[in-house]
Chain length 383, copies 2
């Protein structure tokens, strides 16, 4: 990333801080930190409403200094030094500061309150999440890089899967190949994680298993503390096979799902698969600047209903109220393509679109790709 | 896990709530939730100071009900229903409630405050972390299960590594083999994650790379947002090779490091390796009921200093102030075997012990195994 890129990001963020009449913001979460500074080392970043940001890095500053696109990087030995270091850089008497309140733990917030007892605290997570919705050309290039690699993994896995393999064996094949291509072996998810598994491989009825999580399907998983993803169930001919993975290559994440349906799979699933493909194509075509996320959601629901599959769309019983989610440095960014969401699409927004149908006891159908909004509709990066 | 096991856990937790004069506690974090209820589905668990706990499960309750060792599992459609559901079960007029304040995000805390505006909130994270330090016989069995599998992966990787492989290739081999044995492909870490990578493979100088994280060494990683773990550096003969992975098989985690030093590796590293092995053996022997964690730390530091390697122990420059960490459902449990830590060891505590030496520009030496405290000292599970 270039210094210009970070200057632009900081400028936009500082304009938002000024509009909220904030003196500045204290950033600690890794993805936000990286987005604004270029490093995700363990740091506290102070961004004043105007002027030069100050990066305070724990322990060894070598890497933070090498990575950060900022001029001021200082070592931090102890949390308590923060007010003194800010004052030393000319920042004292701070009265109104922004924090990432969606992710900051209560205990850390209370320690901030002790350091700055007279300060008023404001949530700036929405500012950052809104700003991060719009990807720059450099970010889009990074997304394409991740998408190309992920699509290659799906191409590979399509060539090696065969009935008789367990979900776990397929997962190990997928993950091993992805890792060799540079997959980070993990992903970043904003806020409370949902079981944190690398991805979902689920065959037959397992691909329709419900859960308490806000996702259309979960898979069986191996044990209760990791209740998503592959199990040791063997994929049998005639069972749909779902493979849903986040692809994290470089610093950016894409999301992709393929569901493999051979000729023996029940006709209702074959039909649902066709409908899902149509929904994906129509929603992508409609996803142009000016359209709201909620309108895309409504279109998808209407198409599912007209096909007589409304009660299976995005879950069965308790359905989730979205068909897609923003994506970039984290798996769950904005916009959420959700019921009633008023976010107006703009060129350069990236999201995963995942129309899926769930048939309890039988399996699931559907597709997921990662798209970028252009003047002519959303274009899939993951093919 | 048996119902008896959960009854015993809840009884001890409720005794602690009573001692703090709390009406009860609201639990949301996955590991704590699983520890007390048997499920890690997306739930809020209310544990009253006396009486039957109530598990409120989002969306589909099927799995929460099947997994939980509790009688009362109710569906939850919306966060706002919590006070009504509690009142319906006989719990109203709650005045003093415990929360996991070390991990609860500020935004969730504020929503709790709105639901229970007259309530006083108390941090119960220390209660839970203290209770979870002591592993039951069922938990120790689960740790042994994880340790046996992880040791098998290390045995495998020892047989396939050879100079010329990149750190990433070695990581992919390790992770693929582990996944086939049932490794969850992820791990649980309490609180703010530190880059979340699956493990560290680092050769030569990379194995001595410092970072801003509170760990003795980090590896290079692939990109700044994932700044730990393997890079594309090729392991060359004469370079030390460090492999450090958490092993998550079933619901429990162990931690293990092996550093491979061939005859061409610099003598100072060979010597440090011997000293690390001696430290591990002596600390394990001393780790008996009644000894404090701080005393173990002091012993290790003294041995490192006497060997003339004090300035390389647990980092170089800014050293970390611990030599080990509790482990179980999460990678970073209590006790922390740290400077000044007053935790008194007891039979059934489990911890990873990792005496390591860091030589900037050259590499690292050392070892890590997962131990359980017995009357006769700590016994290694990972061989």
């Amino acid at each position: 990333m270039t210094t210009t890129e970070y200057k632009e990001r900081l400028k936009r963020f500082q304009e938002a801080l000024q509009a909220r009449e904030l003196d500045g913001a204290l950033i600690f979460q890794a993805a936000d930190l990286y987005y604004l500074s270029g490093t995700a080392q363990s740091c506290h970043l102070f961004v004043p409403a105007t002027g030069e940001p100050l990066l305070l890095a724990y322990r060894d500053t070598t890497r933070a200094q090498a990575e950060a696109a900022l001029n001021q990087v200082l070592p931090l030995s102890s949390f308590k030094e923060i007010p003194g270091l800010l004052a030393g850089a000319g920042w004292s008497g701070l009265k109104r500061l922004g924090l990432e309140m969606d992710v900051i733990p209560l205990s850390l917030f209370r320690r901030y309150q002790e350091l700055f007892p007279d300060c008023q605290w404001v949530d700036i997570s929405k500012i950052l999440r809104s700003q991060r919705m719009l990807k720059s050309s450099i970010e889009l290039e990074a997304l394409r890089y991740a998408a190309d690699r992920h699509a290659e993994v799906f191409k590979y896995i399509s060539s090696v899967i065969r009935p008789g393999m367990t979900e776990l064996e397929i997962a190990a094949e997928f993950e091993g190949y992805a890792r060799r291509l540079g997959h980070q072996g993990t992903k970043r998810f904003r806020g409370q994680e949902q079981g944190m598994i690398p991805g979902i491989v689920a065959a037959g009825a397992n691909s329709a298993l419900a859960s308490c999580f806000d996702i259309p399907l979960a898979g069986q998983g191996l044990t209760p503390l990791y209740p998503l993803g592959p199990s040791r169930h063997r994929w049998e001919a005639g069972e749909p096979l779902l493979i849903d993975y986040a692809g994290v290559y470089g610093d950016y994440t894409v999301d992709q799902t393929r569901i493999y349906l051979d000729a023996d799979v029940a006709p209702v699933l074959q039909k649902a698969q066709e409908v899902a493909m149509e929904i994906a194509a129509r929603v992508a075509e409609k996803a142009r600047p000016g359209v709201t996320a909620g309108e895309l959601y409504d279109l998808a629901v209407k198409m599912a209903s007209r096909a007589g599959l409304g009660e299976h769309f995005m879950g069965h019983g308790r359905q989730v109220s979205y068909i897609g989610h923003g994506i970039g440095l984290e798996l769950n960014e904005w916009p959420v393509i959700a019921r009633g969401d008023q976010t107006v699409l703009a060129t350069g927004m990236a999201f995963a679109l995942e129309p899926k149908f769930v048939f309890p006891g039988q399996g699931s159908a559907g597709v997921e790709d990662t798209y970028v909004v252009t003047e002519n509709g959303a274009v899939s990066l993951t093919y």
